[in-house]
Amino acid sequence: MKVALLGVGGCGTRLVDQFVRTEHRTGRSVTNGNVLAFHTESQPLSQTTALSTDQHILLGDTHPAVLRRDTNSPATDSPNSSHDPQLQSETSTTTSKQGASSNSRTREYDINEYGVGGDPDVGAQVAKAERPEIRRALDKIDETEVAATMIVAGLGGGTGAGVGSVLLEELTDIYETEVYTLGVLPADTESDQRALTAARGLRTLVPRAASTLLVDNDSWSRDRDAVADCYQSINQMTVDRLLSVFGAGEANTTFESELRIDPADISRTLAVGGVTTVGRATVEIDSNAHGLLARILRLLGRSQPSGSTPVDASKIKTLISRAVQSKLTLPCEITSADRVLLILSGPPDTISRKGFETGRYLLEEETQTVEVLAGDEPIQNTTELTATVVLANVTSVPQIDELQRRAVPTEDAVTTTSGPSTTTEQTATTDEMNTQTVEPSADADSTSAEFDFTNAETASETTDSTEQ
């Protein structure tokens, strides 16, 4: 399935960059160059290696609330703007922006204060203000060449969640084809602010996207000191699984697949909407049985990869079972899945029909849904057999509940501090009252902590008019 990838924010940009690199390395072609990276901060864009500069879209460089990395940052006279962000103290970041002082959000080490400073509402305002720029950038995507578009973003970031939300709105308005989202959820070790952004991001993206694939940083970063240390491996895992799903049937192979995964199979599986998660398992095919000569020939690329002995049916069944029981990109209760897609990739002469069919049936039993589509993807010159399982519309997801548990008190705290003369000592009920009753003050434009929709609209209109 050909998919256009639009990375948003730092995480999205890195993922998309890595995706394109992996495409080149594996010979699979999913994007066909239909790739863009959107960010409100220039550095992550310039650090990409597989994207060309015309695929970089820097947004908000004239927006008053966006902190630019270069010195001529408009509308800010912050003395810190030219310094390394890592060296800046937490308090200085909050005062570094005009208007931001009225909104003293808890900033923690994992918020990049360049760009929108982790504020999704600023992100959304910037994106709304820059709609013409976004539309111009989207002209570089050939919608007729792809079957779908996917927005890739870290949902804990202000740009990822904020710009991503507006971009999704824009795409679903102008595209006839499906628009998916790939979202990365923040880990427990990341700040509550990021948890709040992600929880709100889910509320915005999930109803609008054709489907939202999620990757949970927390489950994939356990036993490590910091999430940053394993970004690389989480990203690679994500990219590998994305490629397994969308790259199925797109590799250049002379083998015909008997049960090819059509793009329609993928889109039908995802068509139920909601949240999607992906599992994967790989098994090494035993090649010793074919003797030394066969192995040498295989190394030289002179023979069929594995002779013609099919892998034992029970082994394939076990592989499929392992894939669905494996650590999913987002752990969930698998019986809550609505539709399921199975892709078995490996040398075509090793995939046992019986194993494939029993494995598929097993999926139907384990996930308790009859909507299981399955296909094979013949890959030459590999000694691995891989099962990839897509669980679409899973509705029992502990990690999302956990994010919401963290997000609610954080939002209360934020609204409290932004409200006039309220203190953090006030009870949660009062905070809720404030959320509803506080009038948007005239100067609380771009960094207003109010999450009220009309308020955000007002703010963006203000921004629009100042631009014109």
Binding site: V275, R353, E357, V372
Partner: protein
């Protein structure tokens, strides 16, 4: 018999392709016209025996298909066939229908294209022509799961109601250990093509060879005239000492057999054809009519054997409507017997598919009912405190 054939969907197209290959290899001439219809551009390219202009892509302008298949959704399969029916009709206009005896539509019933689009095509054919339209349908195996079973159960109804006869093929009966996916489907297609072509091509080879006992197209059509679901049995035996012939790789070849076939052998062959794997397992006695075709060198087909075989089948099938005839193949090194059991009403596999389909339909409806609600509750916190960003 002379046929115009249409393969719908992946399974149907490959079957037609395999039939043409088999008749070409064995010097038969059955499929005078062939056409394949698919919703996936890639799958449409697979058949090797058909010219480019005999392949029809449907649904390439449909929002959900776009030339990428219908994702196993029979409803979309039917929708796109309906939309593009003019395109199908236009390609079928080339067929000189007076040259053929019947039209055969082949499809897999588990997928979306075959189960959905084929009944639409059949409807159109019945409107356009007086010639009988037969269906050849592949039933999904138990392990293919609930959705294919639901597609098949629903499509089977349309098929049986619309066609003049429905020849069923059960995937489950042909599943064996040790096959790869590739081999599995190829073997099944070969088995089915062998049966269909040997049966329907009877009486169409060399006009000069037509003997007094030769099977005639009209006999076959009369047997199929019952409507309903039919099953085909097949058995073959080697009749030449040398095994180097083109057909030496046939399955079920009796290796010890090298002497000329006598009456007992003929009867044994028919018994084996009937009791061995039928295309769809059924109670033989529930058949309405039956027919036996003997294809092979005329000199090995014992008249006495044919008659006793016919009588045996008459008893087994519990019907007096049993025809038997020859399809002389002087150069053939095998003798094959094909048994057609027409309108069998006791087929356990079809009942199983229907049960599985009912369960699947219930599950799907349950899921549909709570889907939106469950998504909302997943993304909303308990007290609905969190607001969306935009």
């Amino acid at each position: 018999m002379k046929l115009a054939t249409i393969g719908v969907g992946n399974a149907g197209s490959k079957l037609i392709d395999q039939m043409i290959e088999f008749e070409f290899e064995t010097g038969r001439n059955l499929c005078r016209h062939a056409l394949v219809i698919n919703t996936a551009r890639t799958d449409l390219a697979k058949p090797q025996q058909l010219d480019e202009d005999r392949r029809v892509l449907i649904g390439d302008t449909h929002q959900k298909a776009r030339g990428h298949g219908v994702g196993g959704d029979a409803k979309i399969g039917a929708e796109v066939a309906q939309t593009d029916i003019d395109e199908i009709r236009r390609v079928f206009d080339d067929v000189e229908i007076h040259e053929v005896d019947a039209v055969l539509v082949a499809a897999g019933l588990g997928g979306g294209t075959g189960s959905g689009a084929a009944p639409v095509v059949i409807d159109e054919l019945q409107k356009m022509y007086d010639e009988p339209v037969y269906g050849l349908g592949v039933l999904p195996g138990t392990y293919e799961g609930g959705r294919p079973a639901l597609n098949a159960a629903r499509s089977l109804q349309s098929f049986v109601n619309k066609v003049d006869n429905f020849i069923a093929f059960d995937n489950d009966a042909w599943r064996s250990r040790g096959q790869t996916i590739e081999q599995g489907y190829e073997e099944m297609n070969e088995e089915l093509a062998t049966r269909i072509v040997t049966l329907l091509a009877a009486g169409e080879v060399d006009e000069s060879e037509v003997g007094e006992n030769a099977m005639d197209s009209s006999d076959i059509m009369r047997t199929l005239d019952t409507g309903g679901v039919s099953s085909i049995g097949y058995a073959s035996t080697d009749v030449t000492p040398a095994k180097e012939g083109l057909l030496a790789n046939f399955k079920e070849v009796d290796d010890s057999q090298s002497e000329s076939t006598d009456a007992a052998k003929i009867k044994g062959l028919v018994r084996r054809a009937t009791n061995s794997r039928l295309t769809v397992p059924c109670d033989v006695s529930s058949a309405d009519r039956a027919l036996i075709v003997f294809a092979g060198p005329p000199d090995v087909i014992s008249r006495k054997g044919v008659e006793s075989a016919r009588e045996w089948l008459e008893q087994e099938a519990d019907t007096v409507d049993v025809l038997a005839g020859d399809d002389p193949r002087p150069d053939s090194s095998t003798l094959a017997a094909v048994v057609l059991l027409s309108n069998v009403t006791d087929t356990p596999r079809i009942n199983e598919i229907q049960d599985q389909a009912v369960d699947a339909q219930n599950k799907i409806q349950e899921q549909d009912a709570v889907r939106e609600e469950e998504i909302q509750s997943l993304i909303t916190d308990d007290d609905n405190d969190l607001d969306p960003i935009v």
